[in-house]
Subunit: 368 residues, 2 copies
């Protein structure tokens, strides 16, 4: 396998270890593992989860649900507020699989009650502090009112409460991530208590962002976890200390096209259309679009190089700021491995993986 | 045409007007128009240029060159420093079309002199201040030395000097963009003078970023311009005043999935996998990922709404910060039009366009 242009390399062994570790933690905590498949978007990688006994999954769109349904997955939650314009897809899917939907607005529940053709599971989206979507956790009246409207419909089965505590991504330390996780569970239990008091039984709790699920050892009284990114991890997770550099399972292999000695910059073929423009400010205050590792065809990629990072991306170019020592060791035509900042967006752009064993794996987009 | 999920809508009339305007300006200035096709990546949109008489194009990868070559384009410059690992593709292309390559390093020229199988045109990449790639414009010795090495090979025809003055994207005003444009041309003419003094004749000058080519009325003594983004324009260009809001030819039509009255936020189905994470800080200091317009199925999209913008993007969600008045006028299930910050990256992600006339247009990625 000769790499000549940006290629998303996947270390299958690392990904499977990441899957096993999370699956094991879920089993130890006696919670359902419903991994989010938006990260990898691949039926073949889905099979690696299935091999561990996973049977229920999360996706972020109805098209993704249809893709995984066509690959034998029968219990799928679409963790995105229902887009009522997709009602035909919803009804099609609800006929084929055990479909979970996310709702938070009375208008959507009303629409579904009129248009659903088949039974679905309904999760109420709760906002525990991320403030993207969901009903605020302590707006008990609104939550109970929504639950009442849901249960009025014979087509909607109220499964429980679902949250994404995405504010873990802004945490300053693993301790803060753990606190966010624990507080989220406390809030959801409080909501469940109120719902039980209002007569709603069997209310489940679903949580799951990768930082929280990676760092918390004790998942508490929840029914399921839905992390996704952990299968690959990335520089963002490493920066949050949700993973070690060694656990990152994907790297973009990029050819060096030129060097600029006056500023210790290395230009790679590998840009925003490969890695995405996602970036972070690291602990030293540097904005970075990826970390840089040496790459060896036999050995794969190595640890991130000190003092060296992707400082900017154009459509096809990446600019690496290198230490002088690293700069001198790299030549035009060499291959470097770039650890992506956000592996979900990188995988979505590339639409295929090359495993370190030389196997080609496609995502759903490459199959359409 | 019923829109149910994020759809990249293309106003064909606007795009053709943008093409005609730039083509007309090039003709008035008596310079070759070699538009960059990385923005649209579509053979069909390429035909709109051909209809205006355009015969020479710029692309950013050899795969893109091969795609357009297969659609009848015969004069193609790959405006990216040669990646020597793609030598087989280069030789294949050089056999089929008039291929222009970009070089800046002696190692690459040396490699090409040994491995080229067919004649190619060579452009020396000059850095006029953007500091991404290129030899610094006033490093005359290095430029002359490279020119000498190029002309030693019978396979390499030295066409001239090429620059991308991408620092126009950081300009604070149209006047500053015009100054950058004018200064770039002065620098390149100085380089050409030095090369002529060293015995190199027929040295052409190729320039072309969209801000510079949109704002400068007089292109000066250059031989060709290579703007790309202008075919669609976007919020970044509008912010630079390279275009008016009315000239933006693409918008992402997105369904509203929920609203949060406590913070005047509207959640759309439309995220980083649709728009890209490209963002700008606007004149008021706000970070924005898109502007928001009303959308009407018959009338298309309208002007950007005041006080309303995309403030954040997740993988599939967009969060719109709205004014109270706009917030109240938008309902769950409505469609909104989002003007993208960087139309090249958005088009690359979506891989297809729906024209306002209901026609489906694919990019090269959708054909593979």
């Amino acid at each position: 396998m000769e790499i000549i242009q940006p290629t998303l390399l996947l270390n299958k062994e690392k990904a499977i270890l990441n899957i096993r570790k999370m699956d094991h933690k879920a089993k130890e905590n006696n919670v359902r593992f419903r991994p989010h498949f938006k990260t990898h978007q691949s039926a073949e990688i889905g099979d690696w989860f299935r091999a561990e006994g996973v049977r229920s999954i999360t996706v972020s769109s109805f098209d993704m649900a249809a893709y995984f349904a066509s690959h034998g997955w029968e219990d799928i939650t679409v963790a995105f507020p229902v887009n009522i314009r997709e009602i035909r897809k919803i009804n099609q899917l609800a006929r084929e699989v055990r479909l979970g939907l996310l709702v938070e607005s009375p208008e959507t529940v009303e629409f579904l009650s009129r248009h659903l053709g088949h039974p679905v599971s309904i999760w109420i989206k709760i906002d525990v502090g991320y403030h993207r979507t969901g009903i605020e956790w302590n707006d008990f009246d609104a939550i109970i009112h929504l639950a009442q409207n849901i249960t009025k419909s014979s087509k909607m089965h109220l499964s429980g409460l679902l949250t994404h505590a995405g504010h873990t991504y802004h945490a300053k330390s693993p301790a803060e991530i753990e606190t966010i996780y624990r507080d989220s569970v406390i809030m959801l239990k409080e909501v469940r208590f109120k719902l039980q008091a209002a007569g709603f039984t069997s209310i489940q709790i679903s949580v799951g962002d990768t930082p929280g699920c990676s760092i918390a050892e004790n998942f508490g009284e929840v029914d399921e976890i839905r992390p996704g990114n952990f299968v690959f991890y990335d520089v963002m997770q490493m920066n949050l200390r949700s993973c070690s550099p060694q656990e990152i399972a994907v790297a973009m292999i990029c050819p060096v096209v030129t060097k600029h000695a006056s500023r210790n910059e290395i230009i790679i073929y590998g840009g925003a259309v490969h890695l995405s423009k996602e970036n972070i400010i690291d602990h030293e205050g540097k904005q970075l679009f990826g970390l840089v590792c040496f790459y060896d065809e036999q050995q794969g990629w190595n640890r991130p190089l000190p003092g060296t990072f992707v400082k900017a991306l154009s459509q096809e170019h990446g600019i690496i700021q290198a230490s002088r020592e690293i700069f001198d060791r790299i030549q035009t035509g060499d291959l470097l491995a770039i650890l992506p900042v956000h592996s979900c967006l990188t995988a979505n752009l590339m639409r295929k993986y090359m495993t370190t064993g030389g196997e080609l794996i496609r995502t759903m987009a490459a199959e359409v």
